[in-house]
Amino acid sequence: MTYLPSAFIPRDGLSAFLARALASRSFIAGFIVTALIALMALVSFFWTPDDVTKLVVGDRMLAPSAAHWFGTDHFGRDVLSMIMVGSRNSIAVALVAVGIGMGLGVPLGCLAAARGGWLDDFVMRFNDVVFAFPALLSAVMITAVFGPGAVNAIIAIGIFNIPVFARVARAGALAIWPREFILAARAAGKGKTRITLEHVLPNIATLLLVQGTIQFALGILAEAGLSYVGLGAQPPMPSWGRMLFDAQTRMMVAPTQALFPGLAIMITVLGLNLLGDGVSDALDPKLRRRR
């Protein structure tokens, strides 16, 4: 989803932008949820309620209780602990994939906008080709070639992110280039690279940030999908998608097992989307007032 709001450059400075962001309920809610999920992932490195590598056959598929808040799985592992540890995997995959997409896509998009001509055509055609592969399909193909695993999932999702960021960066940069302050910079003798770094990038940064949160959220969903079909992180590494797959086969017996990993995914994605909404609200107060 790469929908570009028409007015994405705040007319005033960063502080006013922040003030508006803090006045946005979406931003606050999204920020809190995202921060809590990140905290959960960090805490899981030092402490979890239970050891996720410990298999207790006697405690298999327990319903939620005081000892196991979210119950246990078919190996007797504590579901809450697995969700905590699984969050690392989700976040890491999605974050690195966004990094790949931004790192390659943004320079590509900026270059296309600055140079125009055949280079622009080439970048856009490259985008078309990547977009022609249904997102997950490219992941399936990559994992088919290189084998399943978290790293290949990252690459697969990351590749799909490249054209998304290239497109957003290009569209944003194209909206900046004809502005008069760019002409002024050119009259001041600045070259295209300097103008891109000094004027274009700072002005499309927030736009990229919004897209970043969207792709982050989509990355979490994609990673969950891949591990659900067995192409993501491999057991015994806990992952939210894999937990849902395991829960599905036992849904008649222990329906709550399918509940918590799904909720974890949903809340994380919801938080990120709210955060992105908050940022775009703060970017375009005109749009916000009309809501």
Partner: protein, 591 residues
């Protein structure tokens, strides 16, 4: 009974008062001109009559139209009135029409809605109406889309929509502001005829006192949400009882003080301020002992010395500052099919002229005549398709960016839009200092700051303003900042692209003064690109008239504007609104 009687109308949006106790009335067949500067509440008054205000707006008072109080009417009743008894014409013809519907559909829609006419009948009436506004269906069939029409033609469609049902009241909010003067004259004439034909009342809103004076029977002057004065146009403007009315009229005809003295005296005035700056600069120079730009500084000062305002012929024997020969710029045509393109569009066609140092030249012409393209070519922001541009004898066409450095230092630009010409993310210091990268050797931090402070001082801003962001300034202040940025490298030529067009008249007068003062103190030459002949007359020595990519006339400003020889120049002069002339005409009409 008045057609429209606004009494004690107050309006606030989110607790901010917008209108304060506005009283206005319009009789059937009368033209009321509502004049004021931006933010005075003119448009809000119009939207209040239409009841198309933003949701957050709260209105009090009464607006009686034909006996009913519009503020108390429900939405259904308003829908019956809008477009039927009250029509409205907006400022921006390029966006006022729905791009995905034909002009026939858009004109017929209101007719079908209000008159309950059948599709065929409504289309017939729409065709008649379009014919009336000057778009006969043989040439402009109903199936045209807005993008197939020019700005002036689109405004005619908007007028056809507004007048399709012969409303009793027509509201025109800056109907010609987005059009060039020739189109403006045509559209105003059309409005005048339509109003006279069916005895409509017309509420004409404009920031342009000359336009309002020409058109209206009575005039209302507005400022800060209040009506300051209303009365018969001729009487109000000749008496100028209210000081603001007087200020507005004076600002509209403003000529900077220095330019009113005969030009021969001016060269003798010692450029005091320039000395002061030079002092300041030497102070800064100490921090950078290696001061290669002492030389360009001196060069700039010597250039500013004797140049002053040479008489027109006298300019020929000095080396021209800028000389343009057979300049041409083609843009490739749009692709019309896979294998063919439209033939290239020639924006600048075989243009030659020279500019003398220190003189100020206007480049006037209708919109789309190629003025702005010519400016960009002179600024080396675009490459010409042919011809040469020489700056002080040195050719600049086809040079690399590094070789262009001295030329860029010598030619700077001031843009029209005081909002779009600054990167909103940088502070004033960084923005104004941007061209300093052109100096060799580049000044260090302290020197830069010194230079920025000087430039700010020269344009009448304070050194404290350095740490602020552009959004913290008003439009006029930003235009000052824009000028500061342009003069910081001590250029010999500043290209001003419609630099005062977006400003209110009183601010415009101040900025014109500033331009004129900098011309005297720094000896900088100007190329003033403008569609406004009043501005050209106020500030320039010489004028170039451009038409369809060519320079069709050239000469002393007063001579050309008083006795235009070419057809294009005559059309421009005839169409340009002129306050003095308008008042004189009104005086005769209204006694």
């Amino acid at each position: 009974m008045s057609l429209l009687a606004i009494e004690n109308l107050s309006l606030s949006i989110d607790e901010t008062p917008i209108l304060k106790a506005v009283d206005l009335s319009i009789e059937p067949g009368e033209v009321l001109g509502l004049v004021g500067e931006s933010g005075s509440g003119k448009s809000m008054t119009a939207l209040a009559v239409m009841r198309l205000l933003p949701d957050a707006a709260k209105a009090r008072g009464s607006i009686r139209f034909d006996g009913t109080d519009l503020l108390k009417a429900d939405e259904a009743a308003m829908c019956r009135l809008r477009g039927d008894d009250i029509g409205m014409v907006f400022q921006e013809p390029m966006t006022a029409l729905n791009p995905v519907k034909t002009i026939g559909e858009q004109v017929a829609e209101g007719i079908r809605w209000h008159a309950g006419a059948s599709r065929a009948e409504a289309e017939q009436r729409a065709a008649r109406m379009l014919d009336r506004v000057g778009l006969p269906s043989q040439k402009f069939p109903l199936s045209r889309y807005p993008h197939q029409l020019s700005g002036g033609q689109r405004q005619r469609v908007v007028i056809a929509i507004a007048c399709a049902l012969k409303p009793k009241l027509l509201i025109a909010d800056e109907p010609t502001t987005a059009l060039d003067v020739v189109l403006q004259a045509q559209i105003l004439e059309l409005l005048r005829e339509l109003v006279a034909e069916s005895r409509m009342g017309l509420l004409l809103i404009s920031h342009d006192l000359a336009v309002v004076t020409e058109m209206s029977d009575r005039i209302a002057v507005m400022r800060g949400g209040e009506i300051l004065e209303t009365g018969e146009t001729a009487k109000t403007l000749s008496a100028q009882v209210h000081p603001y009315t007087r200020q507005l009229a004076l600002a509209s005809m403003h000529v900077p003080a220095g330019r009113r003295i005969s030009s021969s005296l001016e060269g003798k005035v010692p450029p005091k301020a320039a000395e002061g700056i030079a002092e300041g600069w030497r102070g800064a120079g100490k921090t950078t002992p290696e001061s290669g730009f002492e030389s360009w500084r001196t060069a700039a000062r010597t250039a500013s010395g004797p140049s002053g305002h040479l008489p027109f012929e006298g300019g020929e024997d000095v080396t021209p500052l800028l000389s343009v020969e057979n300049l041409r710029k083609d843009y490739p045509g749009a692709r019309i099919s896979l294998f063919s393109k439209q033939k290239p569009f020639c924006a600048v066609d075989d243009v030659s002229f020279t500019l003398a140092p220190g003189r100020s030249t206007a480049l006037v012409g209708r919109s789309g005549c190629g003025k702005s393209t010519l400016a960009r070519l002179v600024l080396a922001l675009e490459r010409p398709s042919g011809g040469t541009i020489r700056l002080e004898g040195e050719e600049i066409t086809g040079k690399s960016e590094a070789e262009l450095l001295p030329a860029r230092r010598a030619v700077q630009i001031v843009f029209q839009d005081p909002y779009g010409s600054f990167d909103p993310r940088h502070r004033v210091e960084r923005l104004v200092a941007e061209p300093l990268g052109l100096l060799r050797p580049a000044p260090d931090r302290a020197a830069r700051r010194e230079l920025v402070a000087e430039a700010l001082h020269q344009v009448g801003m304070k050194p404290d303003d350095m740490q602020k962001y552009p959004h913290e300034f008003s439009g006029g202040q930003r235009q000052r900042l824009s000028i500061a940025r342009a003069i910081i490298t001590r250029p010999k030529l500043v290209v001003a692209d419609e630099a005062v067009s977006a400003l209110d008249v009183s601010i415009r007068a101040q900025i014109l003064d500033l331009f004129s003062e900098l011309n005297r103190t720094l000896g900088v030459a100007y190329l003033f690109i403008t569609h406004d002949l009043t501005v050209a007359r106020a500030i320039t020595d010489e004028v170039l008239v451009m038409h369809e990519g060519r320079i069709v006339e050239r000469g002393q400003t007063a001579a050309v504007l008083d006795h235009p020889r070419s057809e294009a120049a005559r059309a421009l002069v005839a169409a340009a609104p002129d306050l003095r002339r308008a008042i004189a005409t009104k005086m005769r009409e209204q006694g």
